[in-house]
Symmetry: C2
Subunit: 132 residues, 2 copies
DNA sequence: CCCTTTAGTGATAATGGTTCTCATGAAGAT
DNA sequence: ATCTTCATGAGAACCATTATCACTAAAGGG
């Protein structure tokens, strides 16, 4: 443990499994669902580890985290760069969207009101064509 | 009980107390906080009733409901009409905002992707001038 | 004013997602 | 190989929210 310590998190089987599970699908899934999916596919992993790993991946911006309307946390691996989502309330299908002028608008509104360090939450929920 | 029944909810002491409590303040507060505040101010009221009443008031659009970043539901009485919020992450101070072109933009994005019955969630979190 | 009907109330239990605990296991360094 | 330290995971703890259900009290007719 030197002062020039650059050690990241340890590479474990569990961390790889969670990361792989996130890579395989394109919909938001809750930690519970991801845990169940991993167990079903034969990976032995604890629920606490799934929660921890997802939180860390989100912290590192490797995956995105949103709140479902009923308050649960849901995760999804996304393209890099900032963007938002259009989510089907029925089947969970997700489309990434990038409001062109939105970021600038948000910053302007914020500064007009004296706010700084702005973070925003924007998600659209609806019904996709298949579910309508 | 005729067929032309237009009876709304009954006027009870508890419902009045919750509604009054929401009228007195301008910040988002959780159901737990509102319950504690009512108890502290001498109103005897059950927690379940607070939850029920808040849910009903929100359903009737008399108050707004958002999710805090940690998943809790928070309520606030707002001006009528659709709008969003700019919320101080530190002190909870709230500013109502009304993105002029936002609704139209959201509908357009949705229909471009075949989505219908769009609902959206937009909140800005930051630090107000006093807390910076 | 009294009675009946029925929605509202509230103490408490149940639920369920998330976090904590801590003994055990494994990654990485020496 | 050994040692240090972080990661893991089973289960408990936590906590917001919802359900239960016996009791209370609005509303409205008599």
């Amino acid at each position: 443990m030197t002062s020039t310590d650059t050690a990241g998190p340890r590479r474990t089987r569990q961390r790889a499994a969670v990361s792989a599970a996130m890579g395989r699908n394109g919909e938001f899934r809750t930690a519970q669902e991801i845990h169940a999916a991993l167990r079903d596919s034969g990976d032995s992993i604890g629920l606490a580890t799934v929660y921890r790993t997802l939180a860390q991946l989100a912290e590192a911006h490797e995956i995105d985290c949103i709140r479902t309307p009923d308050g649960q946390a849901a995760y999804r691996r996304c393209s890099s760069g900032h963007h938002h989502h259009l989510i089907c309330r029925n089947c969970g299908r997700t489309v990434e969207i990038s409001p062109p002028a939105f970021e600038a608008w948000a910053d302007q509104i914020a500064s007009e009101n004296g706010f700084t360090q702005i973070d925003h939450e924007l998600e659209l929920f609806g019904r996709c064509a298949a579910c309508s």
